[in-house]
Amino acid sequence: MKLLEINNIKKTFDDLEVLKDISISVEEGEVVSILGPSGSGKSTLLRCATMLETMDSGTMKYGGEYVVKDVDGKSVYASKREMKHFLHYFGLVFQNFNLFPHYTVLKNVIDAPIHTQKRDKAEVIERATHMLERMGLGDKLDYYPCQLSGGQQQRVAITRALAMKPKILFFDEPTSALDPELTGEILKVLRALAKRKMTMVIVTHEIEFARGVSDRVIFMDDGYIIEQGKPEDVIDNPENERVRAFLNKLSS
């Protein structure tokens, strides 16, 4: 089943066309990495998919339901009430975590499920505690984000997103604010999630990270998808000239 389907999305900031006709779909249980140089539009694509940015034209479906329809070449979003429903369909993990600094680790994780999803408090707390323990943060429940390392903060952020029971989890460069040694920490978490068939879309420019976790790699450049396929094909035997140039620059 296709959890996410984006068709012919276009997005322009002022005079700069950032996304020029992009279509992607993500199957249930699939892990997709989006690679590409800075300014290729990969973050904008993710921000459109998570509704932090509105697309100019194109359509988007979550779980087969239209979030954005195309009316005469213009994107038309679902009503405010329907959007609320779609917001709970996905989770997003930010580059710089964006944890709430005035909340403890546990409160960061449980507050939204209790207050925006109106779920049972006891159930949410129990599940959150369990998840944080599994993330190796069982002894940090009462800590504030500022008392944690970057890797720990990112694990809290991932737990916070997972606590909403999303069907898809998006990652916006989840390791670029971290030291290289902490990157491995997050990679391990993502691998564990992949093993449990969590559907994930990861924007990154760490090739090894993408290779290590994804079923499919999408390579973007200048607002287009220029190559996609299995990581071993796209990363090790790229057909496209620009992909090859980009990968060479990174490995040299």
Binding site: T50, M51, L52, K84, L87, H88, F90, G91, L92, F94, N96, N98, L99, F100, P101, H102, D111, A112, H115, T116, Q117, Y144, P145, C146, R160, A161, M164
Partner: protein, 267 residues
């Protein structure tokens, strides 16, 4: 002679071991002495040092209470009003934003004393409402509140804008409504950002209450000037100065405690 009372107070002051405790109690005591003494009907002769000092304080005590009242009520009204103006200033509707901007520029750009005069005499000149003595007090509170609300609005705005955009994005993705986002995520962080400038503003307000003399509202400074003039002695003015200083010590101490409380996290 009230000297024995003074001694008792001094004894009480020495009890707590911590420094800040001593300051706090000393300050409270100084503020309480005048009302206590009035209550006990103590009156001292003006001849010797302490007696004279307490005499002045007794004479000033009504003014002190009036200043305190003015101070407290102004804060009570101007702080929430400032938040409303801040919302207007940040409104999506250009016209609302412009009105708020204009309001703030008038309040910050003209003398507070002039604003007090306008609030006090305005109703008389415009609507021919007869002036009354009681209205002086209300006029002072209205004038101060309107003026301070403008300053608070700008402080709040700075505090809100200091909350990173990522906090709003995280809140949005997690499904918080706009209202929830403000109440749960933005407001608590804003409060922390604004404490130091708010302390500044509150301290200024303590001293600014003396401007109420412009509309002949009898607060402490007005009294001090009268006593000073009638006794041909500058000391009552110094006593008044001491009052403001001690008052502000209390303000700094209290705000310092609140800041410490808010320091449970760092952004």
């Amino acid at each position: 002679m009230p000297l024995y009372e003074f001694g008792d107070i001094m004894k009480n002051i020495k009890k707590p071991s911590k420094n800040k405790g001593i300051i706090a109690i000393a300050v409270m005591a100084t503020l309480l002495v005048p009302s206590l003494m009035t209550a006990c009907g103590v009156s001292a002769e003006a001849s010797d040092g302490f007696g004279w000092f307490f005499n002045v304080i007794v004479q000033l005590s009504d003014g002190m209470l009036a200043s305190l009242e003015l101070f407290a009520l102004t804060l009570l009204f101007s702080m929430p009003l400032g938040l409303l103006i801040c919302f207007a200033r940040r409104s999506r509707f250009k016209i609302v934003e412009l009105i708020a901007k204009f309001y703030i520029s008038i309040m910050r750009g003209t003398p507070l004393m002039l604003q007090l005069l306008v609030v006090y005499f305005g109703p008389y000149f415009v609507f021919k409402v007869p002036l009354s003595t009681e209205y002086r007090f209300y006029a002072a509170i209205i004038g101060f509140s309107l003026n301070y609300a403008a300053y608070f609005a700008e402080i709040y705005r700075a505090g809100i804008e200091a909350v990173p955009g990522g906090q709003y994005e995280a809140a949005k993705v997690l499904g918080y409504t706009r209202r929830q986002t403000f109440m749960k995520i933005v407001f608590p962080q804003m409060v922390r950002h604004i404490l130091p400038p708010v302390t500044n503003e509150v301290i200024t307000l303590v001293k600014d209450t003396s401007l109420a003399f412009a509309i002949a509202f009898v607060e402490m400074f007005t009294l001090a000037k009268q006593i000073s003039a009638s006794e041909s002695n500058i000391m009552p003015l110094f006593v008044a100065g001491l009052f403001y200083y001690i008052f502000n010590l209390v303000v700094s101490f209290v705000m310092g405690q609140i800041e410490k409380k808010m320091n449970y996290y760092s952004a």
